[in-house]
Structures are given as C-alpha cells and as structure tokens.
Symmetry: D2
Subunit: 120 residues, 4 copies
C-alpha cells in the first residue's frame, strides 16, 4: 500500500508521462537523451547564480522574480529527473529515502560535525 507521503513523486511521474504520451514524445526519451536534457536545465540553473557573490546568493534570490526564475529551472531539473526515473523504472522517492538513511550511517554526526562533508 502506498502511504500518503509516497504519493507526490508518483503524481508528478503520472503528469510527465501523460504529457509525453499526448505529444508522442516518449520516442525521444531514451536515458542518454533525458540526461542531456537534465544537464541542459542544470546549466540554466547554474547560469542564474554564476556571477552572484556566494554570500549574497540567498538574499539576491529572495527577490520574487529571481526566486521564480530559480524555481522554474529547479522544476525543469526535477521534471527530467522524474522522466528518467520513469524510463528506468526507478522509484525516485524511495531511492532518496534509502540514500539519506545510508548517509546517516556513513556520516556519524559526532565524528563529522562542522567539517566540510564529501556527501551530501
């Protein structure tokens, strides 16, 4: 049974799949192509932030228009990630929860506190 908090990504997956099916675009969605599309969106996200000072970025992107622009690029990244997961039959939400559980074990809080992590 699906618990309530497992539903949001499934819902996005259904929307992305429907969108592609209505346009007969699944033919373009082999994994390598979708990853390149994801890279394109990550690139657009990076461009928004590239010349903003690191210590001013949060403030700069609190301005509504800029925040909306960032949200759009992040949405695009998520949409392609969801699309890729669907193509590969990966349960993205479950994978993320598993990865975080694993990170808890690998990075013992008392040992790594305040030191620059490798991940995540």
């Amino acid at each position: 049974m699906t618990t309530p908090d497992e539903r949001e990504i499934a819902e996005l997956t259904r929307l992305v799949r429907e969108f592609s099916a209505e346009r007969d675009w699944q033919q373009f969605h082999d994994p390598k192509s979708v990853i390149l599309a994801l890279v394109g969106e990550v690139g657009e996200l990076a461009e928004l932030f590239q010349w903003v000072r690191a210590d001013e970025a949060v403030t700069a992107f609190a301005v509504p228009e800029r925040k909306a622009r960032a949200a759009e690029e992040m949405a695009d990244v998520l949409v392609y990630l969801v699309c890729l997961a669907d193509v590969l039959g990966v349960d993205l939400g479950a994978a993320a929860r598993a990865k975080l559980a694993d990170a808890h074990r690998r990075f013992v809080a008392d040992e790594v506190r305040g030191r620059a992590p490798d991940k995540p």
Copy 2:
C-alpha cells in the same frame, strides 16, 4: 491544508534539513555550493551511461545492480535539489506542477505531436 500528494517532497526536505543540522553542515550549503554538488552528482549519473549504446540503455539498466547504481545517483541529484530548494525557500513540487501546466499550454499536443521537442 496540505493534500496527501503534496507531502512527499516536504518529507524529504525535512529529512535533508535534519541530516544537515545534526552535522552542522548548513554552513556549507550556500546556493552556489549546493549547485556544484548537484553538478557532481549529475556527472556521476552521466558517467554510468556514457558508453552504453543509446538503444541498449534501458535494457542494460534493467539489470538489478546497474539499476540500483543509477537509482543511487538519481537519489543524490534529488537530495541536492531538495536541499537547494530548502535553502532558497522554493516549493519544488509546486514549481514542477506549475511548469508542467505551463508546458501543456506552450506545447499544444496537436501542433507538436511526434516532432522533437525543445522542452521538456
């Protein structure tokens, strides 16, 4: 009120935030740093697929170990995306739904059917 299908990303956000707070790692999570971390994970995802033939990629990644490896890298991408959204105060799920609604309008199914899309 939050509907059931809006909860999954909020739950991931809570987990990522808790994980970072316990380790005092939020200090490292300025937007540019998190985007670079996201780029690192996208790079690892790309490496998994780089030399696989495009028309064999789905089959090759149906093998459990390989699928698990891809799921892990995709999970890492999602975790950093959720982290970035949290740092910027962006509602990632809402942004993705808005982007898909917008894509429905911009790409009229009857006009673009079967032709390589620009997005998404």
Copy 3:
C-alpha cells in the same frame, strides 16, 4: 623555452585575461563562479544534442549552421576552462598531455581494445 606547439592555449589565456581585465571582470572570476559558468555552457552544448538520435548526430551537425552553433558552445566551454586554468595557475595544455600519457599507461591497448572504456 616554449616549443611552437605549446603556444595556442597560452595565447587564448592571454586573450581571455585581457578581455576580463579591460572590463574589470576578474573580480567575478573566483573558481566556483567560473565552474558554474562552465556548467552553463556545457548545458547549452547538451541542449543542442539532446533530442537528436545518437546515430544521426554527426550527420545532423555537419550542416553548417548547426555545426557553427555547436562550435560556439564548445568555444564557450573552452574559454571558461582557460579562464579557470588562468585563475588557478594551471598549465592546461601540459596537464592534458600528461593525462593522455597516463591514459596510455593505464589502458594498455592490447588489453582493452574494442571494449567500452571507463576513461577517456
């Protein structure tokens, strides 16, 4: 002494440095910012190819306009790579030659012939 074939990247470096200096833009060129800019250009390159079939990509990009677009994005990637190398004091050409010499040793031709490489 610099041999003739070591000069091209040095010349590009000089052009990039001059360009930035004339505009007082070096202040923006800390390494993380330049890497984000590089990511942005790699994203634009990826977008050009994302929906082209893998087995048609070379032919599709032999068309002059498309080839010119790809060349531009590749040029942008190189410019930021040269900029980053300059900021970090890295001799990019020497590093690439060293890396290739190392790859020759690590990937013995008779052992790996025809099998998908990990690198490069």
Copy 4:
C-alpha cells in the same frame, strides 16, 4: 599555412585520435556519448570545489596536491572537448578566438566595466 600558435590544440587532437584508434574506441565516441563523458569530468571538477569557501578557493588550490587534482580534472574536460571537436570536425581554437572577438564587440568595455557579466 598554420601559424605556430594554432598548433597546440591540433597536436592534442592528434594525440586523442591516436589514443582512441589504438584501442578501437572511436566506435563509442558519438557526440552524445562524448558530451556525457565531458559532463562526468565537469562533475568531478565541481566536486573538488563544492565545499570550499568561495573566497578561499584560490588559496586552497595553490597547495600542490590539490592543484594537481584540479589540473587533472580540467585536463579530462579538455581531452573530451578536443575529442568532441574532432568527431564533429570543429576547429576548437579558431572557434574560441572567434567567440572572444565577438565578445569584444558585444561587451563594449566602457559600457560594462565592473558590472557582473552575463558572458563570459
């Protein structure tokens, strides 16, 4: 006639081509695959810098081992960029010089001085 300063990238191209040919690896080097490999290397470069403070990055990477690691990742990016240019028949050095000449025209120094550039 090739002038001396146009030779370095041609020489790298020759080395990359030879390396691939000896291993019968050209079969893997369709443009989309090479771009994914490039993305993988950019990801490794990003990971080196992700948690370093922006204002400490130059100093941190002046340490010989770290500088050597950065140089290696940058070399990998260049090698795949040269490989892609070779596959597509693009003259990378000429493209970069053309792009810089164009940037000189588009970004008039007196108009943009000291203001965050979009490019490059």
